[in-house]
């Protein structure tokens, strides 16, 4: 038994080594990183990298928070009512819509980016928060609808029937029965929408020019592409951009695993 734990720890250590290496580099002076032999511990560490990261990428981090929160909002507002209709109300054409949502998830992001670029160009939505939120929602809304619908199917009909008998309309039933019992599923859908929008690079790099704002993923990309020797600044930025993922894993691990596995096998 003990041996297995030790082996498990070793496996995790090897697989998570790149993350350690990121943190290690983020804490070393830039000069130390350019020596032939890398230092395995950030002895004599410095927060210089983080100062540089915040100075150059601070506004980008904020932009990404705004975009991610906006995406969560739009995704849930559009997806929750639709999921209710698809799961609980017998809407003709419902199954067809579910199929369409499954299929559109297969469209490669580059195709969406290419198409949205020309559409947004005409609408003046390039370089706008709204544009990026709407673009990110193309990935999160189908996912959220399918996830929420799968959950809402299992809400017992007795609950909604009772509310109907009490004279509540669809809207009342939706608001006071469906939404409260679906809390966990809503949190899961919201978390994944946030993570997706936070991590999005493709829409960010194609639909913004960096003139009015720049999401953090594009910030890192340009930082890396500058061929700068500033690896401690780059790695410090990477650490900051990784924080939401780490926080969510610690705080909401249950939801993350639920969302991940809901993906493939079960529903």
């Amino acid at each position: 038994m003990k041996a297995r734990t030790v082996a498990g720890v070793l496996i995790v250590a090897v697989l998570l080594f790149p993350l350690y290496w990121m943190v290690n580099a983020s804490l070393q002076p830039s000069g130390a990183l350019l020596r032939p032999d890398p230092a395995f511990f950030p002895a004599g560490g410095t927060l210089d990298g983080y100062r540089k990261a915040l100075a150059s990428q601070g506004p980008n981090l904020l932009s990404s928070v705004v975009v991610a929160l906006g995406t969560v909002l739009v995704s849930l507002v559009v997806a929750a009512p639709a999921s209710y209709a698809l799961a609980q109300l017998k809407v003709r054409g419902g199954p067809a819509l579910v199929f369409v949502l499954l299929i559109v998830q297969l469209i490669p992001g580059i195709v969406m980016a290419n198409a949205l670029y020309t559409v947004f160009g005409n609408l003046g939505l390039i370089d706008s928060y709204l544009g990026l939120v709407l673009a990110d929602s193309t990935a999160t809304i189908p996912f959220a609808v399918l996830l929420l619908r799968a959950f809402m199917i299992s809400v017992p009909r007795e609950l909604t029937d009772a509310s109907r008998v009490d004279g509540a309309g669809y809207w009342r039933t939706f608001r006071s029965i469906i939404l409260p019992v679906s809390r966990n599923a809503l949190v899961t859908a919201g978390l994944f929408s946030f993570l997706f929008a936070w991590a999005d690079f493709l829409f960010a790099v194609t639909l913004t020019t960096g003139r009015s704002f720049e999401p953090i993923t594009v910030g890192i990309y340009r930082f890396v592409g500058n061929q700068s020797a500033d690896w401690n600044g780059i790695m410090a930025t990477a650490v900051l951009a990784a924080i939401p993922a780490a926080v969510l894993l610690v705080v909401a691990q249950r939801y993350v695993v639920a969302g991940l596995t809901s993906g493939a096998v079960k529903d």
Binding site: T5, I110, A115, Y221, G263, A264
Partner: protein
């Protein structure tokens, strides 16, 4: 990070006709989603198809004019020597990523399906690479691949090998991005396969152990066949994702050196946003849609079969 669609569900409830006056109210709930699908999928996709038959350039944005050129964009794309490079790279990237992330994911799933002190905690820690923004993972690996200061070459030198020009040689760049993508894909395979393993009844293993089956025999004759439906789904989903990977390649190599890591996705991006040949970019994109949809439909079929099996 990539999102995964929940598989098809059969509605357990049948019959029960809604009253006529309610239909309208029910539709109102669907309306925002329907509008979204039409405006943000229907229209752009149609525009993409139209664009692929036009000479659409930067000038078109100002003049609004993009002359119809028929299939000239497709001819240009298929006739470009980069097309076969991009296809070959896409195939190698996808196959290499899938084989290793699945193999390692499966081995880890079997290992962590044993109950031992800390197994759940360690398993959830392994999710971290999957939750990270791909740009972050790409940046980390690019630093580790650094020829003079990267940790990989430092390790190689330590054991007496020469430093490898990971990202600057045309021979090593593709293996390097594949390696990065394998690392990113392991957690997904691990978690889904782990779920599949847990669904296999423990009593089967007890019976097999009583019959004197060794660990390898138990895996070969129990685990592997019983896991097959899940295996199919994991591989099919992995395929659909991997074909369209963009972020990792862009950050680690940018498609270079000398197009050594150019895939259909990055090439489509370069055509549209680097060369401003939007028509050709759209044409490559449409080829990608066709491939992804083909495999996606296969996935839906296998997912449905799995659910039907589970229900039986």
């Amino acid at each position: 990070m990539t999102l995964v669609a929940p598989a098809v569900t059969a509605s357990p409830r049948a019959g029960r006709k809604p009253r006529r006056e309610n239909r309208f109210a029910a539709w109102l709930f669907l309306l925002p989603a329907l509008a979204y699908v039409v405006v943000f999928f229907g229209y752009p996709l149609a525009a993409n198809v139209v664009m692929s038959t036009q000479d659409y350039t930067v000038k078109s944005f100002y003049t609004g004019e993009a002359p119809f050129v028929g299939l000239a964009n497709y001819a240009a794309v298929f006739g470009n020597p980069l097309f076969s490079t991009a296809v070959l790279n896409t195939v190698l990237f996808t196959a290499g990523s899938l084989v290793f992330q699945f193999g390692i994911g499966l081995a880890l799933a079997v290992f962590f399906s044993g109950r031992f002190l800390g197994s759940a905690l360690l398993r959830s820690l392994l999710l971290l690479p999957w939750l990270l923004p791909l740009v972050v993972s790409g940046a980390i690996w690019r630093w580790m691949f650094d020829q003079d200061h990267g940790v990989l070459n430092a390790a190689l030198r330590l054991v007496g090998f020469d430093a490898v020009p990971w990202l600057s040689s045309t021979g090593w760049a593709l293996p390097a991005v594949i390696l990065t993508n394998i690392w990113i894909g392991i957690p997904f395979n691990l978690v889904i396969l782990h779920g599949g393993l847990r669904a296999i009844p423990a009593s089967l293993y007890e019976a097999a152990a009583l019959d004197g089956a060794g660990a390898w025999q138990r895996f070969r004759h129990l685990t592997w066949p019983l896991l097959r439906p899940v295996t199919g789904i994991v591989l099919m989903l992995g395929l659909v994702y991997t074909i369209k990977v963009f972020d990792v390649i862009m950050v680690v190599t940018g498609g270079g050196p000398a197009n050594a890591t150019q895939t259909l996705t990055t090439w489509s991006y370069r055509l549209s946003f680097g060369d401003f040949a939007f028509g050709q970019g759209a044409a490559v994109g449409n080829v990608l849609i066709l491939v992804a949809t083909l495999f996606g439909l296969l996935y839906l079929r296998s997912a449905k079969a799995t659910l039907a099996e589970a229900a039986a």
